[in-house]
C-alpha cells in the first residue's frame, strides 16, 4: 500500500495569548489508499485545525509553523494558492459538518454539482448532466429529478449531507476529509451516511480522514484510529487495537466515558410527581405535540428519546410554559400548571425547573454566578442572606470552587456552565427537573461527569427528572424508564432494560439498530 497523504511533524501556532502555544503540535501520520483513518478527540483538541491545515484552509489567525503535508508524494506546504486551489476539490475534498450551511441557498442542487465539474474539468453539457445524475444515483437519493431541481432548504439535513458527499466525490479525489459529518444528523440518518462513506471508499479506493468525537462512530467506520489531546497525537493504531487495548491513559479515559448500552436498575414505584394528560401544541398544520400522556414518579428519571422534529424539545418547553400548550393538563402536586394565570402561574411554575441544552446561551453573560443562583433561591422562598448561603452550598454540591460565586459565566467552560445551570435549577427546590439535551453539547468526558452528577444529586435530593435526549445510550445510562417519541406522540414507554431487549414499535427497533458502535 502507498501513503496517499503523508503528514510529518506538523505544527500550527495559535495567536499569542491563547491557552496554549500550538493548536496542532508535532503531528505525523500516513493515510493509506483505501483506508478510513478516524481522528478522535475532545473539542479543542485541534482535530478540526488539523483538517483545515491539510486542506490549506487555515483561518487567518492561525499559521502553519513547521512540518510538511504531502499529497501523493507532492508537497503542499508553501504551494502557491492557485496550485493549491487546483488540488482542492479535485485531488482532495471535504465533507462539512453543517451540510445546509455548506450549500449555496440560491442555486439548485443540479447547478451546484455541475459547477464542481466546470471548475476543474471541461465537459460537454450532456456529459456533465449524465455525471451529475450518476452521482445522485450513487448517493441512493429518492426521486433524483425532483432533488436535482430543488434548492437546499427544500431538502432534509441527511439529503443535504448526501449532496455534499456527492460533491466531494464528484472528481474522484485521492483523499476525502470528513469533519464531523454526522454530528448534526439523527442516528438513523447517521447510520445511512456512514454506510455511504464506506461504500464510496470501497468503490473508488480513496483514503478517508474521518474526524469525530464519537467512539460509537469510530467503532463503526474506522480502519485505524488516531487520538488527539491538546494538539498532540497521543496514540495511533489499528482500530481493533486502540479500541480494545488502548495504550495511552487518555484514550482509556475517553473510552471509559463512552456511555454503554447498559441500564441501571429501575427504581421502585413511587407516587407521581407530575402527571401530563393529553398535552397538545400545533404550529400551523404541524402537530408538534399530539396528545402526550406521561407520568413522572417522585425520585425517578424518565427519558424522552426521539429524533429531531419528534417534538421532544417542544414537550420540554410546553411543560414549563415557555411554549404555551394548546390543550391538556399538567398536574404537579394537585395543581394544574396549565390552568394558572398571573401570580399563581409565577408560583406554580417554580415547581418545574429546566436545564438547557446550550451551556453558553443559558446563563446571562452579565450577571455574576453567585447572584444568579441566589436570586433563584430568593424566588424559591428564602431570605437574602439564606439565599447567598444556599447558593454557595449548591456551588460546592455541583463541584465548583467557592470563588466561582463572584465570577461571570464567561470564566467557565461548557461543562462548568452546565453545572451552574444545574445549581440554579436546584436552588428553587423544584419537584421536577427537566433536562433538555443537557449533555449533548458536551465532550464525552465532561458528559460522563455531568451525567454522574445528575444521578448523584437525584439520589440525594429525590427530585424527579425528565431527561430529553436523542441518544439512546445516554438515556439508558441515566433513566429508570424511557418513552420513545415520534411526530408528537409517545409511541412506546417502558423501563429501559425492557425497551432495549424487547422493543415493540418498529420505530424503536430502527432507533436501537442505528446506535453506532454496537
Amino acid at each position: 500500500m502507498s501513503a496517499v497523504l503523508a503528514v510529518r511533524d506538523l505544527s500550527v501556532a495559535l495567536p499569542p495569548g491563547s491557552d496554549r502555544q500550538f493548536a496542532v503540535e508535532g503531528v505525523s501520520f500516513d493515510l493509506q489508499r483505501g483506508e478510513i483513518l478516524c481522528i478522535v478527540g475532545a473539542s479543542g483538541s485541534g482535530k478540526s485545525v488539523l483538517s483545515a491545515a491539510i486542506m490549506g484552509a487555515l483561518p487567518g489567525r492561525l499559521r502553519q509553523t513547521h512540518g510538511s503535508i504531502a499529497l501523493g508524494g507532492r508537497e503542499l506546504t508553501g504551494l502557491p494558492s492557485a496550485a493549491l486551489r487546483a488540488l482542492r476539490g479535485n485531488r482532495m475534498a471535504l465533507i462539512p459538518q453543517e451540510p445546509l450551511a455548506a450549500l449555496n441557498p440560491t442555486m439548485t442542487i443540479a447547478r451546484q454539482l455541475g459547477e464542481v465539474f466546470d471548475l476543474h474539468a471541461q465537459l460537454p453539457a450532456a456529459e456533465r448532466h449524465r455525471r451529475v445524475r450518476a452521482l445522485l444515483e450513487a448517493m441512493h437519493l429518492p426521486d433524483i429529478e425532483r432533488i436535482a431541481r430543488s434548492y437546499p432548504h427544500q431538502l432534509s439535513g441527511g439529503q443535504c449531507q448526501r449532496i455534499c458527499i456527492a460533491m466531494a466525490l464528484a472528481l474522484g479525489p485521492d483523499v476525502l476529509i470528513a469533519d464531523e459529518p454526522t454530528t448534526a444528523l439523527d442516528v438513523t440518518t447517521q447510520a445511512q451516511i456512514l454506510r455511504l462513506i464506506r461504500e464510496g471508499r470501497d468503490r473508488s479506493g480513496h483514503g478517508v480522514l474521518f474526524i469525530t468525537h464519537d467512539f460509537g462512530v469510530v467503532r463503526d467506520i474506522a480502519d485505524r484510529v488516531a487520538v488527539m489531546e491538546a494538539g498532540r497525537l497521543v496514540e495511533i493504531g489499528a482500530a481493533a487495537d486502540v479500541l480494545v487495548r488502548p495504550a495511552h491513559a487518555y484514550t482509556r479515559a475517553l473510552l471509559a466515558a463512552v456511555p454503554k448500552l447498559e441500564c441501571k436498575a429501575p427504581c421502585l414505584p413511587a407516587p407521581a410527581a407530575m402527571t401530563v394528560t393529553g398535552l397538545t401544541r400545533h404550529f400551523g398544520a404541524t402537530r408538534a405535540l399530539d396528545g402526550v400522556d406521561l407520568v413522572l414518579e417522585r425520585g425517578a428519571t424518565l427519558a424522552i428519546v426521539g429524533e429531531s422534529g419528534s417534538g421532544k424539545s417542544t414537550l420540554a418547553r410546553a411543560l414549563v410554559r415557555i411554549v404555551e400548550p394548546g390543550g391538556g393538563s399538567v398536574d404537579i402536586g394537585g395543581i394544574d400548571l396549565l390552568a394558572q394565570r398571573g401570580p399563581g402561574l409565577r408560583r406554580a411554575r417554580r415547581q418545574v425547573q429546566m436545564i438547557f441544552q446550550d451551556p453558553y446561551g443559558a446563563l446571562n453573560p452579565r450577571r455574576r454566578v453567585g447572584s444568579m443562583i441566589a436570586r433563584a433561591a430568593v424566588l424559591g422562598g428564602l431570605g437574602n442572606a439564606a439565599a447567598r448561603d444556599r447558593a454557595a452550598e449548591l456551588l460546592a454540591l455541583v463541584g465548583l470552587p467557592a470563588d466561582a460565586f463572584d465570577r461571570y459565566p464567561a470564566a467557565f467552560s461548557g461543562g462548568q456552565r452546565q453545572r451552574i445551570g444545574i445549581a440554579r435549577a436546584l436552588a428553587m427546590n423544584p419537584a421536577v427537573l427537566i433536562a433538555d439535551e443537557s449533555v449533548s453539547a458536551l465532550d464525552v468526558l465532561v458528559q460522563a461527569q455531568v451525567l454522574a452528577l445528575l444521578a448523584e444529586l437525584q439520589a440525594r435530593l429525590g427530585v424527579a427528572m425528565l431527561f430529553i435526549t436523542h441518544d439512546l445510550r445516554v438515556a439508558c445510562a441515566i433513566s429508570d424508564r424511557i418513552a420513545v417519541m415520534r411526530r408528537g406522540k409517545i409511541v412506546e414507554s417502558c423501563d429501559a432494560a425492557t425497551l432495549l431487549a424487547h422493543p415493540v414499535h418498529d420505530y424503536t427497533r430502527a432507533l436501537i439498530a442505528a446506535i453506532p458502535g454496537q
Partner: protein, 252 residues
C-alpha cells in the same frame, strides 16, 4: 475622544476660557489674527472665539439632555413592546411608525413653531423625533434577547416581568445602545445647529453655532471666517462623537 473631551472642557470652563464677553460689541468684521481677536469678530463686532466657547454650552447641554430623555422614553417603550409583544407592541409600534413617517426636520419645525423657540422646546422637539427611532432599535434587540435561554430560565423561575427587562435584557442590550447613543448625540448636535441656522434655535443674542452661520451667511464670500469657524466647531464635535461610537463598536 480627545475632540469631544476638548469641547466638553470648553463648555464647562467657558467663562474662564473665553477671552471676552460674547455679547459685547467691539470693532465689527475684524479678520482672524487681528490683535486680541484670534478668530476675528462678526458683523456686530462680537468676538467669534468667545462666542464659540459659550456656544459649546447650549449645543452640548441640549444635545445631551434631549438624547437622554429620548432614550429614557424609547428604552422603556421598546422593552415593553419587545418583551410583551401583543397589543402593547402593536400600539407602540404604530405610534412610532406614524412619527417616523414624517421628515424629521419638518417634525422639528412643526413642534418649535407650535411651541415657540426656547431651550425646553428644542429638547421636546428633538425627543419627539428621536424617541421613536430609539424605540425601534430597543424593540428589535429585545425581541432577539427575549428568545435566549437565560430569559427562558428567568421566566421559569417565576421572575417578575419588569425585573427580567431591567436585569436580564437591558444590560445585554447596553453595548449596542451605547454605540447608537454616541451617534445620536452627534446627530442631535447637528439638528440643534440646523435649528439655529433656520432661526429656530436659541433666541438672539445668545451665542449659538447654527445661528452664527446664518448671521454670517450673507457675507460669507467676503468674510469667510464668519461661517467657517462655527462650521468647524459643529463638524469636529459630530465627527468626534462618531469616532467614539466606532471605538465602542470595535471594543465589543
Amino acid at each position: 475622544m480627545a475632540v469631544v473631551g476638548l469641547w466638553v472642557f470648553v463648555a464647562v470652563f467657558a467663562p474662564l476660557l473665553a477671552p471676552r464677553d460674547p455679547l459685547v460689541s467691539f470693532a465689527p468684521l475684524l479678520r482672524p489674527g487681528a490683535a486680541g481677536f484670534p478668530l476675528g469678530t462678526d458683523l456686530l463686532g462680537r468676538d467669534i472665539l468667545s462666542r464659540l466657547c459659550w456656544g459649546a454650552r447650549p449645543v452640548l447641554g441640549l444635545a445631551l439632555a434631549a438624547t437622554l430623555i429620548a432614550y429614557a422614553l424609547g428604552v422603556t417603550a421598546g422593552l415593553i413592546a419587545g418583551y410583551r409583544r401583543g397589543w402593547a407592541d402593536t400600539l407602540l409600534s404604530f405610534i412610532a411608525n406614524v412619527i417616523l413617517a414624517f421628515p424629521v426636520l419638518v417634525l422639528y419645525l412643526v413642534v418649535i413653531v407650535a411651541l415657540g423657540a426656547s431651550y425646553l422646546n428644542v429638547i421636546i422637539a428633538v425627543t419627539f423625533g428621536s424617541a421613536p427611532a430609539v424605540f425601534r432599535i430597543v424593540r428589535g434587540i429585545t425581541i432577539d434577547i427575549a428568545h435566549r435561554d437565560y430569559i427562558a430560565a428567568a421566566v421559569t423561575q417565576g421572575e417578575a416581568a419588569w425585573r427580567i427587562m431591567a436585569i436580564d435584557i437591558l444590560p445585554n442590550a447596553a453595548p449596542a445602545l451605547a454605540v447608537d447613543f454616541c451617534l445620536r448625540l452627534g446627530y442631535t448636535a447637528i439638528v440643534i445647529g440646523a435649528l439655529g441656522f433656520l432661526g429656530l434655535g436659541l433666541p438672539p443674542p445668545a451665542p449659538d453655532w447654527g445661528g452664527m452661520v446664518t448671521d454670517g451667511r450673507a457675507l460669507a464670500f467676503a468674510f469667510p471666517h464668519l461661517v467657517i469657524f462655527p462650521c468647524i466647531a459643529i463638524s469636529s464635535l459630530v465627527l468626534g462623537l462618531s469616532l467614539i461610537a466606532d471605538g465602542l463598536r470595535d471594543a465589543q
